[in-house]
């Protein structure tokens, strides 16, 4: 016979745990319900169209999907090598006191509100990029958006990668060292492999933040719903347009289209998380075969 207290303990914690799937369910349900008018009106063409005209009640999502994906990819392209390099230094290379200060600063970077990043982006980063990059005329564009995102996700990627490296069992390092490996070889042979799944996790968390970031991006990306091959042209992201237009959207279709954009953002996030899970699962299998 089980302890009565334990039975209740199980029931209550089960209730708490099931609140997560329940919340996700009602979230998706409401998004679907509210975006139904737009889905019915525009059909699948909504995802592939390029027109966003609130006055004519014509809406489509492609420029926003494009802007979200490209700005996040720019952010990853910059933040992943930078963050990984920083994490490797902090975890494996440096023995000095200096690294403690860097670790604190990384956390400070994560604590800065995004509106402050946005301001800094308008007044400092944008004009500065214009000065150093030939061909860039204005500091408000896709590239600036990507760079500001890179700075914002850098702490996430650095901090998690560092934790992951440190979680690798110490005896792996010792074995490599015992075989005469240099620091670089030791990292390459003994640490990077087991840490791969964790690194992917760090990158995905960073990407998640980049995809959903709103305020800082909307302040520097130019908010123009147009697909342009140039990184120096203004662009627009899913999260930004929702934040910009939601409060003042008068027509029901406009509101519904904005909610469908939210649904698309959710689907993109779920897809990316799914792929990441798969990668993590595969690499875990490789290094920890059951």
């Amino acid at each position: 016979m089980k302890n009565k207290g334990d039975v209740w303990f199980k029931r209550i914690t089960f209730l708490f745990a099931s609140s997560i799937p329940f919340l996700l369910f009602i979230l998706v349900f409401i998004l679907l319900q509210k975006s139904l008018p737009a889905i019915v009106e525009f059909g699948p063409g909504f995802v592939f169209g390029t027109v966003w005209d609130p006055l004519a009640d014509k809406f489509s999502a492609l420029p926003f999907i494009y802007g979200t994906m490209i700005s996040s990819l720019i952010a990853l392209a910059i933040a992943v090598p930078l963050g990984m390099g920083c994490a490797i230094y902090l975890s494996e290379v440096s023995q000095s006191k200096f690294k403690e200060y860097i670790a604190v600063m990384v956390e400070l970077l994560a604590a800065i509100p995004s509106v402050v990043y946005g301001l800094w982006g308008i007044f400092v980063l944008g004009p500065w990029l214009v000065k150093i990059i030939p061909g860039m005329t204005y500091g408000t564009c896709m590239l600036t958006g990507g760079v500001i995102l890179a700075i914002m996700i850098l702490p996430t990627i650095t901090a998690i990668s560092r934790e992951v490296f440190q979680a690798v069992p110490y005896n792996l390092r010792e074995s490599a060292m015992a075989l005469g490996a240099t620091k670089w070889e030791c990292f390459k042979l003994a640490i990077f492999g087991p840490a791969t799944s964790g690194i992917i996790g760090a990158i995905i968390l960073g990407l998640g933040r980049a995809l959903g970031e709103t305020m800082a991006v909307t302040m520097v990306i130019g908010n123009r719903p147009k697909i342009s091959a140039s990184l120096f042209a203004p662009a627009y992201t899913l999260a930004s347009v929702i934040a910009n237009e939601f409060a003042e959207a008068t027509s029901d279709l406009n509101l519904s289209a904005l909610i469908e954009l939210a649904l698309i953002l959710l689907v993109i996030t779920i897809l990316i998380n799914g792929v990441a899970r798969l990668l993590v699962w595969k690499t875990t299998l490789k290094y920890n075969p059951r």
């Binding site: 609130p54 006055l55 308008i122 007044f123 408000t140 934040a243 910009n244 003042e248 008068t250």
Partner: protein, 342 residues
């Protein structure tokens, strides 16, 4: 048991709500929020009637009013006839105060830029691309304008400021009216978007060669360089509270507007108004109320509030950088308020 409990609860809620003073609820535009707050405070001290206003945006204000969640709405953009029909045809637009939209720019060494309607339209259309374009230089004799690219900055968020600005552009240009149109958010043919007055002003400040539009009060508070615009009478006028009020008085000379006013319709387009002192980009903000408030316990209190706001309340407008309604307009509005059925 539960039924009994609910019954007791409902009775007690009923008594609570009648025991306290009347509370009028409204929500909507953020542009007039500061003055509505001031009015609500002073009015409740004088009359004991509490007015609660939430600045949730004109769109939300219209929706909540139509859905019957609020007693009145606030909006910077008038509802269309179709929207009014949807709301049961029973909507009155009461103008409260006026605002203007200033065109601001960033050009080192140019302190008093002059533009006319056509030039503003062509700049925001993306047709005029350089600052030394002949259609700009001809308006600014003696000023040396650089051969710099123009960067157009507009609002990225839906806004009453955009509504007033595009109403002006659509009024002075048929091309703008047919290709872009007017509203709180439009599909801009050129430029970049900044979030809020603050975002637009920031982009202008950060980018040499930029031009954009901000609310007049914002331009005054932050001492931004503003364009003198050519009005209907051919004068170049800087935006100010006086030139805003002058525009309303000037607009009243129009037969079309008077006809609307006499019919009790105050969705007036005040842009490009005649009169030598009128600034051309001017608009009103409205309270949305029902024409028929029979059976509503709050109707009388709401009418009292509106009447007070349009008389004593107006004196608080200038200090908060809103232009008060001219007396002639106020009289007409008060006449219409008297026709509200209680």
């Amino acid at each position: 048991m539960i039924k009994k409990f609910l019954a007791v609860l409902m009775v007690s809620i009923f008594f609570c709500s009648t025991a306290f003073a009347i509370m009028i609820n409204g929500a909507g535009a953020t542009f007039p929020y500061p003055i509505y707050m001031k009015w609500n405070k002073v009015f409740s001290q004088q009359s004991g009637i509490k007015v609660n206003y939430q600045g949730i945006g004109s769109g939300g204000g219209q929706r909540q009013f139509i859905a019957g969640i609020t007693d009145f709405g606030g909006s910077d953009a008038p509802m269309t006839d179709a929207q009014i029909q949807k709301a049961g045809g029973d909507v009155l637009h009461i103008p409260t105060v006026m605002g203007a939209v200033a065109v601001s720019y960033n050009l080192a060494g140019v302190s008093n830029l002059k533009l006319d309607g056509d030039a503003v339209v062509d700049i925001f259309m993306g047709k005029i691309k350089k600052w030394d374009d002949p259609s700009i230089t001809v308006l600014n004799p003696g000023v040396s304008l650089p051969a710099k690219d123009i960067l157009v900055v507009h609002r990225s968020d839906g806004s009453g400021t955009t509504s007033i600005f595009t109403t002006y552009l659509a009024k002075v240009s048929l091309k703008w009216a047919s290709q872009v149109g007017k509203g709180k958010a439009v599909s801009w043919p050129a430029g970049i978007g900044g979030k809020g007055n603050f975002g637009v002003a920031g982009q202008i400040k950060a980018n040499s060669g930029a031009i954009g539009y901000v609310e007049l009060s914002y331009a005054i508070k932050n001492n931004l360089p503003v364009v003198s615009l050519k009005n209907k009478s051919g004068m170049f006028i800087k935006p100010s509270l006086d030139s805003t009020s002058a525009a309303a008085s000037g607009a009243m000379q129009s037969k079309k507007l008077m006809k609307m006013v006499n019919a009790g319709d105050f969705r007036l387009n005040l842009t490009n108004a005649p009169g030598s002192g009128s600034y051309p980009i001017v608009g009103m903000t409205w309270l949305l109320v029902h024409k028929n408030m029979k059976g509503s316990s709050k109707g009388a209190a709401l009418v009292k509030y509106i009447k007070w706001a349009l008389s004593d309340g107006q004196k608080y407008a200038p200090e908060l950088l809103y232009a008060p309604l001219p007396k002639s307009v106020r009289r007409k509005v008060l006449n219409v308020v008297d026709t509200i059925k209680l």
